[in-house]
Amino acid sequence: MNLELIRASIPEIIDGLGFTLLMWLPGSALALALGLLVAILRHYGGPALDRGLQALLGVLRGTPFLVQIFLLYYGGPFIGWDFDAPTAGLLGLSVYGAAYFAEIIRGGLAAVPRGHVEAAACVGMTRAQTLRRVLLPEMALLILPSTINMLIVLMKETAVLSIITVPELTAVITGIGSLHFAYAEAAFMLAVCYWGLTEATGLLGRGLERRLQRFRLA
């Protein structure tokens, strides 16, 4: 193991890490927002809208992210969608993540006890108020564990963005590895970086869950 090479690569790796975070965090936030929108549309929209969205989600969840991002970035210009690589990456990750978040959020909304919604109706809340003040906060508590899981999945999916020339962590590290024929070092750095990121995310998630314990259903 060439420790000197690893030490010398740190600045470059930090740049790659920056790009990974730049794709992952805003992409996840957008995915959550978009997923929420879709879940709410499915919750309140008519059956036709529901079926249409379900089919769309099926396609997004049924095909590899790699295929989606490839078609978006390299196929997009032929139908007039000419995004630069980071934009396409962010957009692709958001839409892909939204397909999963929509399902998670839908499950969460369904798991909020009906009585809590009825109690809101009984004190005179409107539908929008019930959604905003009862359904969404309770749903957020219920879906926290699966949301953390999904965040980790999305973080690992950012590795795919190297194929559309986003210089993220995987692209940088594999580049270093091949430039110096340092495959072992590259595998080691990849494992350490991603494992560290997932463990940190998991740790944050578990801490948050503990802090939110007192909000659990009585």
């Binding site: 193991m1 060439n2 790699l66 295929v67 490839f70 390299y74 196929g75 997009g76 210009p77 032929f78 000419d82 795919v160 190297s162 194929i163 559309i164 020339t165 995987t170 692209a171 594999t174 580049g175 590895g177 091949s178 430039l179 024929f181 495959y183 072992a184 590259a186 595998a187 080691f188 990849l190």
Partner: protein, 282 residues
């Protein structure tokens, strides 16, 4: 499709045991054994290949085809060996060589100084000098100097990328260089119009242009230093016998005209290649 690389040794991880790949090779037990003797005894030469590097090596309707296959078939006949191809994506080929999955690599790479420090190359089998692929009907790119100020792509960590960067620096304004993990993506981006040219080795580019003449065209004038393709083997002492024997077989094909015939068959042109590249220009 996670093509992490190509030709440029953009190989990924793999030989993740401790130490350099050469140090702890393929099981200590096998280390002392002479590889040529083992290959002769088994009657089989195992070679690593990638099947995604037309016209050297590709699948034609599911069947392996290309210059490499024909050349190694001749080589096997000359050496009295059966050739066994182990197909891997390129990013896994060199780690596979290091971990002993096969005896040598039947995919060519540009012979460079850096690579020669690490691997042993066979005599050159074709030219690898940089050329440019442009869109069909593009009349603005006629000489290498026309690249000035334009967006040009190439494969990450390839010798051709280095050549492109070096040449671009001499232009004013320099070209905007875009790096792709895989040349297929660079070609796709050329088709999509995000870049106006792709720099890759002449044989590859000529083949792409011939395959899709409606989309792509070749800018004929090469640029940068003259360079060559050779096959890769290991430098370790126990491999020396095997590599010497392979070198001999390649040189024989070079001298009796079979190499030129193969070039003509697959490239529709021939290259003048030296017997050996001792100190590469790149």
């Amino acid at each position: 499709m996670a093509g992490f690389g190509r030709r440029g040794f953009v190989a990924l991880a793999g030989s993740a045991a401790l130490g350099g790949p050469a140090a702890l090779s393929a099981g200590a037990a096998r280390a002392a054994e002479d590889v040529l003797a083992r290959v002769k005894a088994a009657g089989v030469l195992r070679v690593g290949t990638e099947t995604q590097f037309a016209p050297f090596d590709f699948l034609d309707n599911g069947k392996a085809a290309g210059l490499n296959y024909d050349l190694f078939a001749e080589l096997g006949r000359d050496m009295g060996l059966r050739i066994e191809f182990v197909a891997l994506p390129w990013e896994s080929v060199l780690p596979g060589l290091d971990s002993g999955k096969f005896d040598m690599v039947s995919g060519p790479a540009t012979i460079t100084k850096a690579r020669m420090e690490r691997y042993r190359f066979t005599p050159p089998i074709a030219e690898a000098t940089c050329a440019l692929l442009k869109k069909a009907g593009d009349t603005t790119l006629n000489r290498p100097e026309d690249m000035a100020g334009k967006a040009i792509g190439s494969g990450k960590a390839t010798s051709q990328l280095e050549q492109l960067k070096k040449f671009s620096a001499t232009l004013s304004p320099p070209a905007t260089v875009r790096e792709y993990v895989d040349f297929s993506q660079a070609y796709a981006d050329l088709a999509a119009g995000r870049i106006v040219g792709v720099a890759n080795s002449l044989p590859n580019i000529a083949y792409v242009a011939a395959q899709r003449p409606e989309t792509f065209a070749l800018m004929a004038t090469p640029f940068g230093e003259k360079s060559y393709f050779g096959y890769i083997g290991r430098k370790d002492a126990e491999y020396a016998g095997l590599m010497d024997a392979v070198d001999g077989a390649v040189l024989k094909m070079r001298s009796d005209g079979r190499l030129t015939a193969l070039q003509q068959k697959w490239f529709k042109t021939t290259f003048e290649t030296p017997e050996r590249v001792a100190s590469p220009a790149v």
